[in-house]
Structure formats: structure tokens, C-alpha cells
Amino acid sequence: MADVSKSKPLAWIGQVLLYGFFALLIGVFSSWPTYRHLPPDQALIKVSFSHQGKPVSDCRSATPQELAKLPPNMRAPQICPRERSPIAVELDLDGVNALRHVAAPSGLSRDGASAFYQRMQVAAGTHRLVVRLKDDVRSPGFDFVREATVTLKPAQILVIDFDPGKGGITLQ
């Protein structure tokens, strides 16, 4: 078969059209249509934490029998559980519960941190927030509670985190 591209002007036009189609395909879909991830009147609330809960029970004194079973260099007077409490979190938004979650501790022995991330789309404007967090199964009720009224601009991201060093539940 002859090389048509060398001989026919129509073939040249065809090439230009097909190259043009390739450019159009790439050029158009590399920037169009515009993607609107968030409607213009919405904001985001992100609830996230990575925190190690309290031990599931108190330390206790080892009995003489228990100590005797251990090598001399491992005879600690107190036995403390490795397992940590799961962390429960709740968020009420304008008086309505919007989030309730219990994050299990990580690790095979359930002795690691509990981690959580959740994003919520809310209408921009003023909202009343109540955040509750419980990190100790031994205590009744929630260990940390934070109430706040926030005004969110459109597209603003409010992060609700937990940092014991900053007093517990943080809003940023």
C-alpha cells in the first residue's frame, strides 16, 4: 500500500484534523468542565483525632504467686493492663446530633492510639457546636466537652481536633 500521506493533499488535511482532534481531546478535558467540589454556600467541618485512650482498668499489685512465676528481673510490683480505652466522640450541630463514633485502639494488643477522621458538609453561617469526647471506660460520661458558636464563611474548613496539651478538644 502506498504511503498516502506523501501524495494526497486530502490526506494532509486528514492528518491535521486528526492531530487537531487529539489536541482538542487533551486540551478540553485537561481543564473543562469546571469541577465544583463544594457548592458556593457550603463549608466543611472536619472532626479528627489521633489519641491514645486511658488504660481499660487500674493497675493492681501483683500477688506473691504471680511474682514467683516471673523471672527475678521481671518482678514488677504492679501489673498494668496494656489495652487502652476506645475513644468515643459525639458532635451536636445546632442541637441535633450530627456525629457519633467510637474509635477502637490500634494494635494487636489494642494498646495503640485511636484515630478518626470525618468530614461534614454544612451550610455556611453561624452554628452552635457541642463536641464530646470520652477516652476512659472507667469513668462515667464524657471526659471532655467543648461548646462553641462558630461562624463559617463559604468554603471555610473548621477542624475539630483533640490535643491534651492544649486542654483537650480544639477548634481551628
Partner: protein, 519 residues
């Protein structure tokens, strides 16, 4: 026929129609649809070269990345911006041609048997290309990069892979540290290195792999991308700001479609869809397939160790080993896993000459399902069966191109071979000496040979530029060549008609009833 196979063949027919549209514009040899793999290689290297420049100017810190890329537009004559745009559009182009390459090979059913290795090593390359492309957006660290990085983290967090959610790396204005940004850089530099290794593996079992398209096609493609970069330069979309969610984004749907899909459905759905698609692609080679034809067999008594089959095998299935009986000579050896049963080696073997005097033609390397000796017998019988027809024509075609058996007629005897290159060129001369007035050899269109190199080797052998060659004493006006794939029957009919007119005219009116001269 299995319904899935029927669907595949129906879709293949549609793809072939599209190829013919491209043939009309580019010619079959330069048809980009027949060079998709090579175009992918070219675009990868274009990305590598432009990427090295971008890496040199990139400030690899979370604070400075956006500024350093944004400043590219201030390079004299906007060369930096053009290069950046070329980088992005080459990435888009790479994905487009890679997907088209996957589609084309899949429609041809090229995923089993000796092609299994190339298929299986090709799928991860597509995945790596996407990973690399997505990671590239993060380095710019504009709002699109911010959105993509966060969307990727949210998607990955669906799997219990990390102790702490990846998304926690993007909470708050100062959350993204230089250390995390170094990870972005590592992804976008490390994955291309994996791609290089992957590409090397991908073509390991292919001899003379086409890793660069024909020059005109390469220049045309590069010029197209350059024109696009000039006409629509890529621009940053404002610096990343983690306290504000990006709202309206000029979005690259070719490379980042997975994020909107994730938010439109769910991360779990996208994981399920991706895993399912990969499983299907990986499972295709192990699905039931028709039994492959028996592989080539070497006859030690007739192999002289000339290495032509070794040179011509498109899949490097032939190696040379010491000949067990002939001292310093070598012997061809066929690797059963690599052999495509195409018969190209038979056409390359000098012992396949039909002029050999042995009553039974046994060659050095042969196909058990269609021995060359049988072809000689069929040719002799076929020409004899045409009786006293004055202008007999012998047609040799290929099982994967136009079905030449439909050309059989009162003056035509046709043979469909496994590949046109299975035909030793001496058979053309033999047919002419044995009563044929003309010979038509047809193979797949240029660049679309089922066995990659069969059409090329056939053309070169018959043109006398490759061994074994057709002797120069053979009158070329009595030989016609037609490179036409399945569905392009008209081209072969036209070539046959043209050959008939030529041999009739050459014979002249006085010899209208004369048989062709025997040599």
C-alpha cells in the same frame, strides 16, 4: 461462539474501521493507532526530559513550591510555562495512548499464550502512570494539588493501612511540612523509575521492540502538544490554603477523574471498581482459550545454523545452541513458552527452498500443522488443477489479513499461511516456473502484522533487502504485493486485477494462449 468473544470481535471490527480512517490520512505505516505503544514510550521520555527541567527549578518545600512553579511563566518568552504545559499535556497524552493501546491489544485478544507476559507486565504500567500523574499535581501545591492530595488521602484512608489517617497530614494551615512535601517529590520521582523498569520488563519478550514511533509521527505528535501548550498554557489555580476548601477547579478529567468519582459514589465503591477491573484484566490470560497451534520444530539434519530464524523471530523464541552432530556449527532451538507459532522462521530458513530435489521437502525449522513440504505439494497440485488457463495466478496470504481463499477461481489458486512471512521467497519463483503467470503476496497492512514483523520481513525479502531474498532474475512485473488487513478486501482485489492486466499486457496478444515460460 462464546458471547464475550462475539462482542470482542464486533468491537474489533469497529476499531478496524477507525484504523482505516486513520490509514486514509496517515498511510498504514504511519497510522498512530498502530504505534500506540511506541507513542507511549515517546511521551514518557518527553515527560522525563521536561520533568527534569521542572525538578531543577522546583523549590521542594511546601512553602516555596507554588512560587517556584508560578515563576516559570516569567521565564523569557514564557519558555518555562511552555515546558510546564508540555509536561502536563504529555501526561494527558500518555494516558490516552496507553488506554488506547490496552483497548487495541485487548480487542485483538492479545493477552494469552506467548503474549501473556507482555499483557501482565503492561497492566501495572497503566496503574503506575496514573499514580505518577496524580502525584505530579501535588508538587505544584496549588488549589488543584491541594484538592487532589486530600482526596487521595481520604480515599487511601478507606483501607486500614495506616495507624493514623493520612488526612491528618492536611489539617490546618501549617499541617503540610517540608518532610511531607519530600514524600510528594519521592512519589513523583520514584514512580517514573519504577515505570522505566516496568517498561523494560514489558518488552522483554519482544524482539526489536518498537520503543520509538516513526520520525514523522513523533514529530507530528510533539508538534501537536507544543501547539497546544502555546495555545492553552497550563496555569496554577491559586496557592494551596488548607483552611479553605477549593470550590471551582479547572479540572483535568483525564488524569484526576478518580476523585470526583470517589465523591460521587464512595471510596469503597472506587476501591471495589478498581480491584474488580484489575482482577478482570489479570484474569484474561488464564481464561479458557483455543488451544495454540503446535510450535515450530527444528530438524537437526536440515538446520545449518545460519541464524536467519534467530534473527527474524519477532518474539526471540529461537536461540542458537551447539549442533550435536556438526562440530562447530550451531543449531536453532525453539523456546516453547515464547513461540507464537507464526511460521516466520520457516520463511527465513534457506532449507525451505522448494527447488530442493528431495521428493519430500523437509526444512531446517518447520510448523508441524502446516509443513512447508505440504505447501509445495499443494502449490503444484493447485496450479495443475487450473488446467490450461493462460494466466494462472498463485496467491499467498495470511490467516490474519484478508481471507485469500475467497479469491480462488478458474485462474487463481490461493494459499492462506499462518503469516505471510512463512512463505520462503523462492516459492514465488517456483510458482512462476511451475505454470503461474503471476504471483500475488498479501499480508497485513504495514505496521499491523499480527506477529509484529511478518509484513516487514515479507516486504524486505521480496524486495531483496533481507535474506532469504527473492532472486533478481525473477520478473518483478509478475509479482504483486498488497498490504491490506482484514476488512480491506478491496485493496487485494484491486491488486489482483492490476496484476492480471500487467501480465496480460506483458504477454501480448500473440501469446494469449501460451503458457508462461518455464525457467
Amino acid at each position: 461462539m462464546h458471547p464475550l468473544r462475539a462482542i470482542r470481535l464486533y468491537a474489533l471490527a469497529g476499531f478496524r474501521r477507525l484504523e482505516r480512517v486513520f490509514d486514509a490520512a496517515f498511510g498504514s505505516g504511519l497510522n498512530p493507532l498502530r504505534h500506540l505503544g511506541a507513542l507511549g514510550f515517546m511521551l514518557f521520555w518527553l515527560l522525563a526530559v521536561s520533568g527534569i527541567y521542572l525538578y531543577v527549578v522546583l523549590d521542594t518545600s511546601a512553602e516555596g513550591a507554588y512560587r517556584s512553579i508560578d515563576q516559570l511563566s516569567r521565564v523569557p518568552w514564557q519558555l518555562g510555562g511552555i515546558l510546564r504545559s508540555l509536561h502536563r499535556y504529555a501526561a494527558d497524552g500518555l494516558i490516552v495512548v496507553t488506554l488506547a493501546h490496552l483497548l487495541r491489544e485487548g480487542l485483538h485478544g492479545r493477552y494469552s499464550g506467548f503474549r501473556r507476559f507482555s499483557w501482565l507486565t503492561g497492566i501495572p504500567l497503566l496503574l503506575l502512570s496514573y499514580v505518577n500523574a496524580v502525584g505530579g499535581f501535588w508538587l505544584n501545591w496549588d488549589q488543584l494539588g491541594q484538592f487532589s492530595a486530600l482526596a487521595t488521602a481520604e480515599w487511601l484512608d478507606q483501607l486500614p493501612l495506616f495507624g493514623s489517617p493520612l488526612t491528618r497530614n492536611f489539617l490546618g494551615a501549617d499541617a503540610v511540612s517540608d518532610r511531607l512535601f519530600s514524600l510528594f517529590v519521592f512519589v513523583h520521582v520514584g514512580v517514573p523509575l519504577l515505570l522505566v523498569f516496568g517498561l523494560w520488563f514489558h518488552v522483554q519478550r519482544v524482539a526489536r521492540a518498537k520503543v520509538f514511533p516513526p520520525r514523522r509521527l513523533a514529530l507530528g505528535t510533539a508538534a501537536t502538544l507544543l501547539a497546544l501548550a502555546l495555545a492553552a498554557p497550563v496555569a496554577s489555580q491559586g496557592p494551596a490554603n488548607l483552611v479553605v476548601a477549593p470550590t471551582a477547579l479547572a479540572y483535568d478529567w483525564l488524569l484526576l477523574f478518580v476523585h470526583p468519582l470517589t465523591y460521587f459514589t464512595s471510596p469503597a465503591f472506587v476501591w471495589f471498581a478498581l480491584t474488580g477491573a484489575l482482577l478482570v484484566l489479570f484474569a484474561l490470560p488464564v481464561m479458557p482459550h483455543p488451544a495454540p497451534a503446535p510450535i515450530a520444530v527444528v530438524d537437526a539434519d536440515n538446520c545449518n545454523g545460519c541464524r536467519r530464524c534467530f534473527d527474524d523471530c519477532p518474539y526471540a523464541a529461537v536461540t542458537m545452541v551447539p549442533h550435536p552432530m556438526r562440530g562447530v556449527r550451531e543449531l536453532a532451538k525453539v523456546d516453547a513458552d515464547l513461540c507464537a507459532s507464526c511460521g516466520i522462521c520457516v520463511g527465513a530458513c534457506p532449507s525451505s527452498s522448494p527447488f530442493r530435489s528431495a521428493a519430500e521437502l523437509v526444512t531446517g525449522i518447520d510448523m508441524p500443522s502446516a509443513p512447508i513440504g505440504m505447501l509445495r505439494q499443494q502449490l503444484v497440485k493447485g496450479l495443475a488443477a487450473l488446467g490450461n488457463q493462460p494466466y494462472k495466478v498463485a496467491v499467498f496470504g495470511c490467516d490474519h489479513g484478508v481471507d485469500v481463499r475467497q479469491l480462488t477461481g478458474p485462474d487463481v489458486v490461493a494459499f492462506s499461511l499462518m503469516c505471510a512471512a512463512q512463505l520462503p521467497p523462492s516459492f514465488v519463483e517456483y510458482a512462476l516456473r511451475d505454470g503461474a503467470a503471476g504471483v500475488l503476496v498479501t499480508a497485513c497492512a504495514e505496521g499491523s502484522c499480527e506477529y509484529r514483523l511478518g509484513q516487514r520481513w515479507t516486504a524486505e525479502r521480496l524486495q531483496g533487502t533481507r535474506e532469504p531474498h527473492l532472486r533478481t532474475s525473477v520478473p518483478r512485473e509478475r509479482l504483486a504485493l498488497a498490504w491490506a488487513g482484514a476488512g480491506d478486501e478491496s485493496a487485494v482485489h484491486q491488486a489482483l486485477q492490476s496484476l492480471r492486466q500487467r501480465i496480460t499486457a506483458a504477454a501480448g496478444p500473440m501469446s494469449a494462449n501460451a503458457a508462461p515460460v518455464r525457467g
